[in-house]
Amino acid sequence: MRAIEFVDDEAYANLKAQSEINNAKPKLFQSIRYDEKRKNIALSLSTGVEIALPVSAISELAKVPIRSLREVRLSVSGQAVVVSSADIHISTDGLLRDFVQMLPRELISAQFASLGGARTSQAKRASSAANGKLGGRPKKHQAVA
């Protein structure tokens, strides 16, 4: 019987090309460590930011013994927080998003709006130019003395 070929030559060549692109990108999540004194796990990002997440607030880790927490590591891609001896593999992205949700809503909304406003695109440029032809932004009313 012929073995099943999951990855043929063409798919392998595509994967190889993709691997070169992926490996050239900096990893967002760089490292992780357990801070025994503060009972946090400290996650370092490529931006230089370190985020401390309380172990008690991470359901998967809350009951893990300290000796296992000391082994915490990131997976090779940085996409998972791993505690091998406790069979824990948490999506790093998912974990951070859950913590972001704990921040005040106003702060998240303001940041979201700021990111949207800072974004440029051909469509935005065209719309802005078209609006400009209509006379531009209305003048502010002068305060009457």
């Binding site: 073995a3 099943i4 070929e5 999951f6 990855v7 030559d9 798919a11 392998y12 994967l15 190889k16 993709q18 691997s19 992926n22 490996n23 990893k27 998967e60 997976s75 090779v76 891609s77 940085g78 996409q79 998972a80 091998s84 069979d87 824990i88 593999h89 948490i90 999506s91 992205d93 998912g94 974990l95 998003r97 859950d98």
Partner: protein, 142 residues
């Protein structure tokens, strides 16, 4: 719990990640010592070679023969993969897809095929390795 297989073939771990993972269903395959990680997709209604799509995440890509071996390992333990994925990410990735159940077995389909239906809900029933579609149609996972 999310680990599907450990040291399947030469130091490789195969896991489902917890927290906000998303469809299509997939496992992460990692070799810590060799410094690479890939993911392999699987399906609840399909079991062909092409179903098990491989995506590179980081590190030196393993040889083609090894990738085929990992995909085969996932194929052979697809029932366990489906069970663990459903436990952590109860989304089979079938909503708004066309499916058909023929002789009790579910498979992907197309809109214009007789007997096909559009999935609005798909619930995996681990004890029988089957799906309950739209609350009334049952089909075994291939």
């Amino acid at each position: 719990m999310p680990r599907v297989m450990k040291h399947v073939t030469g130091g490789v771990d195969i896991n489902v990640l917890t927290r906000k993972e998303h469809a299509p269903p997939h496992v992460h395959v990692e070799h810590q010592a060799e410094g690479w990680e890939i993911k392999i997709e699987f399906s609840y209604v399909e079991n062909k070679g092409s179903t098990y799509k491989i995506k590179h995440l980081f590190g030196k890509l393993p040889t083609q023969a090894r990738l085929n071996a990992f995909a085969l390992a996932v194929m052979n333990s697809r029932r366990e993969c489906r069970e663990v994925w459903w436990l952590h990410v109860p989304d089979a990735g079938l909503n708004n897809k066309w499916v058909i159940v023929t002789n009790g077995v579910a498979s992907p389909s197309k809109q214009n095929l007789a007997g096909s239906f559009l999935v609005s809900t798909a619930i995996y029933e681990a004890p029988t390795a089957s799906m309950l579609f739209n609350g009334r149609i049952k089909g075994t996972c291939p």
